[in-house]
């Protein structure tokens, strides 16, 4: 009984370590491939369009409603001790430092991460990745590097848009629903918003974009077993990307604090 338990624990530990090792090696070679020039530009711009431009509506909607809700909730709290004037800076700081990158990252993980894992997973199970190798094309350089670079570049740009849209959402609620003075609200927003607040959010977005693309490409790349395997890879890509975003959000916040 004890031997069986120990064997099961050992087997799971070895399984976990080998999976972790494979993922680490994949990330290493994927990162290396990003610095291998010339980059597959056509694929890079296709990914930049799909990850960046096509994610704009969903990121915009998330940001505007987050900004609007934040303004309403802050008003509820701050009005209890007559600090309503702090709403503008709370909205701006929350959006730029936290909500923009985190919610943007989670939305991109759901929309783009799933698509990436499904696309690469389908290529894996239908032998298209094997075909790439036989055609003397390195799949890391052709498939993974353009996605990782495009996602790492696109997410900060999306977050920059989300920051502006989110702050506008807060402004709209404050001015049109809570009867704040428009000029005072704008003035207070920019008075307390510093460059490092925006930059720290963009650094987070870069890291999140890199993690989403790596995790999604990895899950697709190692998928096995037909449609079911691709489905599982897609689920794992979204879940692991989201968990990594939350973990790295704390680590980065502590570092940039």
């Amino acid at each position: 009984m004890v031997i069986h338990t120990l064997a099961a624990v050992g087997s799971h530990t070895i399984g976990f370590l080998s999976t972790f090792g494979r993922a680490f090696i994949f990330c290493f070679y994927a990162t290396l491939a990003c610095f291998h020039w010339p980059l597959k530009l056509k694929e890079f711009f296709r990914q930049l369009y799909q990850i960046g431009y096509l994610s704009l509506p969903v990121i915009g909607l998330t940001a505007i409603f987050s900004g609007m809700v934040l303004a309403l909730q802050s008003y509820t709290g701050f009005s209890r001790f007559s600090a309503e004037s702090a709403i503008s800076s709370v909205v701006a700081l929350s959006i730029t430092r936290e909500l923009g990158p985190v919610l943007g990252g989670l939305m991109v993980a759901g929309r783009v991460g799933a698509a990436m894992a499904a696309e690469i997973g389908t290529m894996r199970v239908s032998e298209q990745i094997d075909a790439l190798v036989t055609l003397s094309t390195n799949p890391m350089r052709y498939l993974v590097a353009p996605r990782v670079l495009a996602c790492t570049i696109a997410l900060p740009l999306l977050v920059l848009c989300a920051d502006a849209i989110g702050i506008f959402g807060g402004y709209a609620v404050a001015v049109y629903k809570l009867d704040f003075n428009s000029a005072t609200y704008i003035d207070q927003t920019f008075q307390f918003l510093k460059q490092e607040d925006v930059v720290s959010g963009l650094i987070k977005a870069c890291v999140f974009g890199y993690l989403i693309a790596l995790m999604s490409c990895y899950q697709g790349y190692v998928s096995r077993g037909g449609a079911q395997g691709v489905g599982q890879a897609t689920t794992r890509a979204v879940v692991l990307s989201s968990v990594l975003i939350l973990i790295f959000n704390y680590i980065l916040t502590a570092m940039l604090f």
Binding site: M123, E127, D130, A131, T134, T137
Partner: protein, 252 residues
């Protein structure tokens, strides 16, 4: 004739499951060799080891006398340029039109321009009996037989020295099987290429093979020419080519 592909004592396992044990293969230049075997006998794994998609546990794989196991990644990339491969399901790139699929390696490795790539694709499509209009279609718009022919056109596009065919007639009707087999023979002859085909289709084997190896449970149990195959007294081989249920091979 010189030996083009030489494989000795190839072993490959997945966990505790041994797929290949002492797999040997020798194919002469310009020869059409067929590896025959049932499902799960290790045919696809042996082919994937030879073309470098799987790393064998041990053994020697020589192409033109050079051991591919001892090569650097760059040296092996040069060897890969000698290969053309037709996959069982075609493995065409869904996101690219047919012309880009066919000229893929030349566009990506030699910087071939769009016009030249389209011209080359149209030429290769003609050699597999397909019209120019197919060049602008996407793989999803093609039938199974057309996909196989486009895949064959992609395999022969860079004029490879060695062509590998993984179950080229699987899932096709008898007429299309004959068409694909004659195209394989025609294209290989035109290129002067050495070919290795894996199949369990006996009719197809008789149309394309010069020499045959019978693979059973990861081991080559018989090798010889097509003529020798019919005269062979190997019980496994005879049972397999006649599709009999009586004999040493048990259906699992």
């Amino acid at each position: 004739m010189s030996i083009k592909i030489n494989v000795k004592n190839l072993k490959k396992s997945f966990g505790k499951h041994t797929v290949l044990k002492d797999f040997d293969l020798s194919v002469k230049k310009g020869e059409s060799h067929v590896i025959l075997g049932g499902s799960g006998s290790g045919k696809s794994v042996s082919l994937k080891c030879i073309i470098g998609l799987l790393k064998p546990d041990s053994g020697i794989i020589e192409i033109d006398g050079h051991d591919t196991q001892k090569m650097s990644a760059k040296e092996f990339e040069a060897i890969l340029r000698k290969f053309g491969m037709l996959f069982q399901g075609g493995a065409l790139f869904d996101s690219l039109p047919v012309w880009e699929n066919i000229s893929f390696s030349l566009i990506n490795n030699q910087g071939m321009g769009k016009r030249q790539a389209i011209d080359l694709a149209v030429e290769k499509l003609a050699s597999v009996g397909l019209g120019e209009d197919v060049a602008y279609k996407y793989p999803a718009e093609l039938s199974g037989g057309m996909k196989k022919r486009v895949s064959l056109a992609r395999a022969i596009a860079p004029n490879p020295e060695i062509l590998f065919f993984d179950e080229p007639t699987a899932g096709l009707d008898p007429i299309m099987c004959t068409t694909i087999d004659s195209l394989i023979t025609k294209c290989s002859k035109e290129l002067g290429a050495t070919t290795v085909t894996i199949t369990h289709d006996i009719a197809s084997l008789r149309r394309i093979a010069d020499t045959v190896s019978m693979l059973y449970k990861g081991e080559v149990i018989w090798t010889g020419s097509l003529k020798e195959m019919d005269k062979s007294k190997n019980a496994y081989l005879q049972q397999f080519i006649h599709g009999s249920t009586d004999g040493p091979i048990k259906a699992s």
